[in-house]
């Protein structure tokens, strides 16, 4: 069964074989490394670019305008902040030309904490991404979702962010969530598509035959059904929310957990149906808490569902700090972890007027 990085690689392979991807590029994306997280090993259209994120995003736009579907990688989203005006430019090509030029590109970048990445390998990007209109935004939490969402990014005629929670890169699918066609045995898959250590110059991957199985934008997934409250999350914190919900079941708290999967467009219908039923909602993500995407969801919750609510909607997010510190205690205290998520769910479930 694949982990997320292998799922991404398989989706990129499908992209270049069947869906018209002409270029997969960025710093260290091509051989011999095949990506800092190995997401681009063995791909025939992968190439190394200069260490220049502005050039990477700009070239991606140019390729897109020339009709070349491409996936451009920024090695860590922490290094995408100097490309914001180019990302804005990508997001406005279609609108500013009044519908004349679309820009079919995917900007792929690892996001968030969880690898003790210190100040410049732990930033989140969901808040920033949702401030760049014109982009569709995917942020998976499972290998299968990563596979299907990346395929959707690739074929979309618009610019897309494919944000990868780096803490989940090596997490494997749960049984029943395989990508069709992938071998069930981890070692067999690794032998087929992981580049060997050492000299790779003669290595060729053996790709499993996986289908064009898209996960559409704007379709969340209810990962755990529940009665008492709704927890909406995505990315690294999603599996923690599921874990917390399971842990609280013996206390008689039955939490519903929704994986949003795509942040724009987002599945408001699913959230609103769930919160309408439970009357309580907790939004969880790890970006800094001020002007956080969860705050937008709270605003919408209040405006649309105020009279259904049994308790104030809540947000558990990253502390409003310049960065995530390196030491274990610092990282754990800065972004939501299992204990803080569990506590938040418990207190929301028990909140009374």
């Amino acid at each position: 069964m694949s982990n997320m990085v292998q799922a991404i690689r398989m989706a990129l392979h499908v992209g270049e074989e069947r869906l018209g991807v002409t270029d997969i590029f960025g710093e260290d994306v091509g051989p011999p490394l095949g990506g800092a997280f190995t997401a681009t090993q063995g791909l025939k259209t992968a190439w190394n670019s200069p260490l220049d994120e502005r050039g990477t995003v700009g070239t991606s736009i140019g390729l897109g305008l020339a009709g070349c579907r491409n996936v451009a990688e920024i090695q860590f989203c922490d290094y995408a902040f100097n490309t914001i005006d180019l990302l804005k430019l990508a997001g406005m090509q279609y609108w500013s030309s009044n519908g004349e030029w679309n820009c079919p590109i995917t900007i792929m970048t690892p996001v968030g904490s969880g690898i003790r990445g210190s100040i410049y390998h732990s930033h989140s990007f969901d808040g920033t991404a949702t401030h760049i209109p014109g982009f569709k935004i995917a942020l998976p939490s499972t290998p299968r979702d990563a596979y299907g969402l990346l395929l959707s990014c690739i074929v979309d005629p618009n610019p897309c962010f494919f944000l990868v929670p780096k803490a989940l890169m090596r997490v494997r699918s749960l049984p029943g969530e395989e990508i069709p066609g992938e071998p069930g045995d981890d070692r067999a898959l690794s032998k087929m598509i992981d580049a060997p250590l050492g000299d790779r110059s003669n290595w060729k991957p053996q790709w499993p035959d996986t289908p064009d199985q898209f996960i559409p934008f704007g379709e969340g997934r209810t990962v755990r059904a529940g009665r008492d409250l709704t927890v909406v999350s995505y990315g690294r914190t999603l599996p923690l929310c599921v874990k917390a919900a399971e842990a609280l079941a013996p206390e008689g708290i039955d939490a519903e957990v929704i994986d949003l999967r795509s942040l724009y467009p987002y599945d408001w219908a699913r959230i609103s149906e769930s919160v309408g039923r439970t009357g309580r909602v907790l939004y969880v993500n790890e970006d800094t808490e001020i002007t956080n995407f969860g705050e937008h969801l709270i605003r919408r919750t209040v405006e649309d569902l105020f009279y259904e609510l049994l308790a104030p909607p809540r947000l558990l997010a990253g502390a409003h700090l310049p960065g995530v510190g390196l030491a274990d205690n610092l990282e754990m205290a800065t972004v939501p972890q299992l204990p803080s998520i569990t506590d938040s769910i418990r207190s929301l479930a028990r909140a009374e007027p």
């Binding site: 991606s60 736009i61 140019g62 020339a66 500013s96 030309s97 014109g134």
Partner: protein, 341 residues
């Protein structure tokens, strides 16, 4: 013009045909009259902001005439900045469309009333949307150049910008990505050096004697030319474009030229009299060679002025975009650039 900015004089080359000279002259005058009409529109309240390229016609007209225009990677891609109405006219654009954009009408074919004048977008001619931020076009251009190269043939990518903007990192990006040994790109990288960044003189901010010298470090063929001379510009552009088309490598061309109405309406858009006017010099030459008389040239200018005044009046009657249209074209349903329609 200071010594340090003096262009490299070109070797004498074959004469351009009288027909071509007359065509260039006519387009230069028309472009100038268009810019003057756009300034009038601004001053009369028929537009919120003016920016353009009066003074750059001697360079921009030959550029437009030499572009292989068309759609897709077999043709030239154009990443322009906002001073190139003359290039667009030389490519065949209708001047009334610039006026529509000036008046932000719904009929503006470049942006539907969304963007400033001079911000062209013409997909059928590979003119990608012009953007206000200085220099982003230099980061985007390598992408279309990769497509040009992959397509084979003689299509190139042309990117233009001003001297002040070369201080941005995007200019270095362009030089680096155009000259990667792994994949050198067929590009004409143009800097129109008018010696100003809004109100800041070039010479106080740039230690490099010539911007084109920066190409040398990357092994990029480079040249500085007199962009106020249409004959020099035509010949040098021909040579530079032929190099990029046939060698499939980049060429950096710096054209030293004039800015005759300041930066934009933000600086008044008034005529600057101490800079050389490329049309005046060219007309003197045409007269000396007996190709046109002063009277013919005056009549031509008056005829363009009347034509564009009529167009101005027409544009004033055209509708503004409707408020509800703001949500149009946020997301594309079809992949237009990949041939879906």
């Amino acid at each position: 013009m200071s010594t340090s900015l003096r262009p490299v004089r070109s070797a004498p080359a074959s004469e351009l045909s009288p027909d071509l000279l007359l065509k260039m002259h006519s387009l230069m005058v028309k472009a100038r009259v268009l810019e003057e009409r756009l300034i009038q529109m601004y001053k009369q309240g028929d537009g919120y902001f003016w920016i353009g390229g009066p003074g750059e016609e001697a360079f921009n007209v030959p550029l437009g005439l030499l572009i292989h225009k068309g759609q897709g990677p077999h043709y030239d891609y154009c990443h322009f900045h906002y001073r190139q109405s003359a290039t667009l006219l030389a490519m065949g654009a209708d001047p009334i469309d610039a006026m529509r954009q000036m008046k932000n009408t719904a009929t503006d074919p470049y942006s539907g009333g969304r963007n400033f004048v001079g911000h062209y977008s013409i997909r059928k001619w590979n003119v990608v949307p012009v953007s206000s931020p200085i220099e982003v076009q230099y980061s985007v251009a390598p992408g279309t150049a990769i497509a040009n190269k992959r397509a084979g043939g003689r299509g190139i990518t042309i990117v233009t910008g001003g001297d002040a903007g070369t201080a941005e990192g995007d200019f270095a990006t362009c030089l680096i990505w155009a000259s990667r040994p792994a994949n050198p790109l067929p590009m004409l990288i143009v800097v129109t050096n008018n010696k100003w960044g809004i109100s800041t003189p070039y010479q106080g901010q740039h230690g490099e004697k010539r911007i084109s010298d920066r190409g040398k470090a990357f092994g990029i063929e480079s040249k500085t030319i007199d962009g106020n001379d249409p004959e020099v510009s035509y010949r040098e552009l021909s040579a530079a474009m032929e190099y990029a088309r046939s060698e499939r490598k980049p060429f950096l061309l710096e054209a030293v030229l004039s800015r005759l109405y300041g930066h934009s309406s933000a600086s008044g858009a008034n005529r600057i009299n101490d800079e050389a006017d490329c049309i005046t010099g060219f007309e003197r030459r045409l007269e000396e060679r007996g190709l046109l008389t002063r009277q013919q040239m005056d009549e031509m200018r008056a005829s363009f002025a009347a034509e564009l005044l009529a167009a101005h009046k027409q544009v004033k009657e055209e509708p503004q975009p409707e408020a509800k249209s703001i949500y149009d074209h946020v997301f594309a349903e079809r992949d237009l650039v990949r041939g879906e329609s």
